[in-house]
């Protein structure tokens, strides 16, 4: 029971350092304002581990906290993370968890859900600014998703090595 509870609370412990990294270190590695989203990686990872419902709630809460801590538009990350965690949740399967987390298929899941997340986030923040759909799709969604996916590689490598050990 305690272990189960710990499993549910664990992602929130990881959230704090990841949010600090996202706001302090990630801007240093931005390429033309395109940045990876480390908090989103956490959401996808735990969605695939714990299931769709857990992931959706985790996306909702971490999105809300991230909006608060980053002084961004309140509700934008919240909505984006909720929807994309729900989508990532379709890849949850207790039988295939090893394949989904420890192989490069994890990166496919991250990429697909990150596109949705980044697009929703960009679209909400760009509303009323006259920024075009194509720009939002390519520079607002595809490129940041690719960058986020790159940061998923260490997770796969680490997870698969842990598995071998």
């Amino acid at each position: 029971m305690t272990r189960m509870l710990l499993n549910y609370v664990k992602p929130f412990f990881f959230f704090i350092p990841l949010a600090v990294l996202q706001l302090v270190v990630v801007p240093l590695i931005a390429i033309d304002s395109i940045t990876p989203n480390l908090v989103f990686l956490l959401v996808v990872y735990y969605t695939i581990r714990e299931g769709q419902i857990f992931g959706t709630i985790l996306g909702f809460i971490t999105g809300f906290l991230f909006d608060l801590f980053s002084s961004g538009l309140l509700g934008s990350s919240m909505f984006a993370f909720t929807i994309s965690a729900f989508i990532a949740g379709y890849f949850y399967s207790e039988n295939k968890m090893d394949i989904n987390l420890n192989t490069y298929f994890f990166l496919v899941i991250v990429f697909l859900s990150a596109i949705v997340s980044s697009f929703i986030y960009s679209a909400i923040n760009a509303s009323g600014s006259g920024i075009g759909f194509l720009f939002l799709l390519v520079e607002g969604a595809l490129l940041p998703s690719f960058y986020t996916t790159l940061f998923g590689v260490p997770i796969v490598v680490f997870s698969s090595k842990k598995e071998i050990l």
Partner: protein, 275 residues
Amino acid sequence: MLKFLRRFIKNFKEYILLVILSVLSLSILASNDKPQAKRLKAFAFGSFSVLNEFATSLTSVFRKDDSFASLKEENARLMLEVNRMRKAAFENNKLRTMIAFRDTCEYPLIPANVVSKLITKTQGNYIINRGANDQVQRGMPVISQVGLIGIVTDVAGNYSAVKTLNNGNLSIAVTIQKMNVDGILNFDGSNLVIKNVPATFDVQVGDRIITSEFSTLFPPSVPIGTIRKKESNVYGLLLNLYVEPFADIAGADNLFILKVIPSKEINQLDMNLMK
């Protein structure tokens, strides 16, 4: 009925949860301008920025000494002074008789450091380590030693949130200094653009852009950048001007808050007009 409802919830619980959480998110999104939301946000980023500031101090490999910071502050003051003088010179040539009309008040500067940054293609927000305790208020302009960076949007005790020029939702009234032509500056995701300037004006690449006297957000004559490229649209009748900002907005770390809020500025201008 109860059985059906129970079965319905059991079968569609993921979708029901998604709908509830989405509706909640959207309603929070819609209440961004409410004072309660602003207070909550100010409290949250004010508390969390303590961690960010600590992390920033760890990542600052090149520590700046006090003399460097004071030189930067002096530089920012001189930049504003030079700009005011440049504007005065333009006006002197055009309107000699009205030279004493200009508002020549100086703006006090509050030095600040960037604690954290939220950078995406559609929004650029900073959190800086000066807040209400340092007399920072919402609406105060933020500059670097070379030009305008953005505006203070939320204020906590020791920290403030700054909306930078690289923000799709920030529109600024600007003036092309050489010809005194006004326009609206926007961020289009990649560039700062002044749209729909009549092509009849002889705008040249390299012309300086400053904040306009008509701006309700910023005091006049704060330098923004220079025209990098001009592009004609609507059969050559109008121009889109691409602006290269003086300040490195994405890489800014040492900033200054102009201790002036627009309403006071407008009040002073009004008083000048009554002289």
